[in-house]
């Protein structure tokens, strides 16, 4: 399994540039939103966490449709699907994790820089980082389901995103509200954060199983 993580990461860094693309897209989002807001720094700081979260969510979609597509085209997917049920679930868990390492983690790491651009306070930035750290894996896990469903489609890209975005909404809601709660005083940080963590755990369990069910059915 370590081998699988290593391979997927090697491919991601060697050919996809997925990490870079995600971060750049993230940057583009954050650079563009202020146009509508005008130069109102307070407002920017206020909506900063939301912007970062939306950017991260959209950026995670970028590599998602290729998660299994490449493996299918060269025949590796056969070997993965051949495994027994449990190993397959584990494999998919690991592949989602590798996807997160390649696309989600860089976003978390880039967050402080973007927080600076959005004029966010240190607490606020920290809170966003923490929520992203917990929330982006959840996106990768639930995204694996969409990728598995779309694996037999030649141009799954948009379809995967369409199928996944509605499911990712709870992650976004609690991620953003936890990030806000960290700075606005009366609201407590922990309840939404705990819910976010619960969702992440739930998706980490559900995603690989559902993806496995989809892949087992659809091989040709």
């Amino acid at each position: 399994m370590i081998a699988l993580i290593k391979r997927d990461l090697a491919i991601a860094t060697r050919s996809g540039g997925a990490a870079m693309l995600g971060v750049l897209f993230f940057l583009a989002v954050v650079a563009v939103i202020p146009f509508g807001m005008g130069p109102d720094l307070n407002l920017l700081a206020r909506i900063g966490p939301a912007i970062l979260w939306i950017g991260a969510l959209l950026a995670s979609l970028l590599g998602l449709d290729r998660l299994f597509q490449a493996d299918r085209e060269d025949g590796s997917l056969d070997m993965l699907v051949m495994q027994d049920w449990l190993s397959l679930v584990l494999t998919l868990f690991v592949k989602s994790l590798a996807h997160w390492f390649a696309t989600g983690l860089p976003l978390v790491l880039a967050a402080p820089l973007l927080g600076l651009l959005m004029n966010m306070s240190a607490t606020s930035t920290g809170a966003v980082m923490l929520t992203l750290l917990v929330g982006t894996p959840a996106i990768s896990f639930i995204g694996a389901v969409g990728a598995a469903v779309a694996v037999v489609l030649p141009r799954g890209g948009l379809l995967v995103s369409i199928l996944i975005l509605p499911l990712a909404i709870p992650i976004l809601i609690f991620g953003v509200s936890a990030a806000y709660a960290a700075v606005t005083d009366p609201d407590p940080f922990w309840p939404p954060f705990m819910i976010l963590s619960a969702i992440a755990l739930f998706f980490a369990a559900l995603g690989p199983v559902a993806a496995a069910a989809a892949l087992k059915g659809a091989s040709d």
Binding site: P166, L167, L206
Partner: protein, 253 residues
């Protein structure tokens, strides 16, 4: 042993599309008649109902808005059950049921969105707000359309079945969200007054027409669904025959 074989036999006999066609053909006329009758009664009752002292005549929108919203959710639940049938028992009709429910569910969801907006304009002064219930219904609409796109994308029904079933089940988490969104977040939309644990809190003069309309909508749904399922079975039959014809000539061997 004998017990299971019998139930197995009954189960597979329902799975046989030919048997299903015959059976549904017999049931359909009654179902359609019942649907039309209850719709007529429901329409009469909803216009005979007194106007609301607060909302005036617009309260009549309720009689078509609320059943549409319920049906939107019920239809998805039907699909979810059918999906379990696909995944667990590999029942060949389950996939047909799930697939053909999609456009019908999408239509009811659309209606609940539309009538809701048309009600919201005079009541709230706006067509649309991003409140939790409205948005979650919107998301439901998106999921219907997304699943339709998925089916359209895979021309081989045999291969679309399982992935679509998995996705339907995963998307089911949205249904409780819709149902309870009004209680979890405080929103513009009113909380449940009919389907609640401590019984309905709505006045009978409005409750009865609502219930009859709900019944009518449900019957309409099943009528349409049954018809669509029959179509889908025929569509697959045609596809198969085409392919077989081609292979009989074409393979040459």
């Amino acid at each position: 042993m004998s017990d299971t074989t019998i139930s197995q036999g009954w189960f597979t006999s329902l799975a046989n599309p030919t048997r299903f066609l015959a059976l549904s053909g017999r049931v359909l006329p009654y179902l359609a008649t019942a649907a039309v009758l209850s719709l007529l009664v429901g329409l009469y009752m909803s216009f005979a109902a007194p106007e609301d002292y607060q909302q005036g005549i617009t309260v009549r929108i309720m009689f078509i808005h609320v059943p549409a919203a319920w049906l939107a959710m019920m239809c998805y639940s039907v699909m979810a059950i059918a999906s379990i049938g696909t995944l667990v028992w590999r029942h060949p009709l389950a996939d047909v049921a799930a697939k053909t429910a999609l456009p019908i569910g999408a239509a009811f969801t659309f209606l609940s969105l539309l009538t809701g907006s048309l009600w919201g304009r005079p009541m709230w002064g706006t067509w649309w707000v991003w409140d939790a219930r409205l948005t979650s219904v919107f998301v439901l609409f998106l999921m219907y359309l997304g699943l339709m796109a998925l089916h359209k994308a895979m021309d081989d029904p045999a291969r679309a079945a399982r992935p679509a079933a998995v996705l339907t089940l995963v998307g089911f988490i949205n249904i409780p969200i819709i149902k309870f969104s009004v209680e979890w977040w405080n929103t513009l939309h009113q909380p449940a007054s009919v389907i609640r644990l401590d019984g309905p809190t709505i006045h009978p003069t409005m409750l009865y027409p609502l219930l009859v309309m709900a019944l009518a909508y449900t019957l309409i749904f099943f009528t349409l669904h049954l018809m669509a399922m029959r179509n889908e079975i025929l569509r697959r039959r045609v596809q198969t025959m085409r392919r077989q014809a081609a292979q009989a000539i074409g393979g040459g061997r």
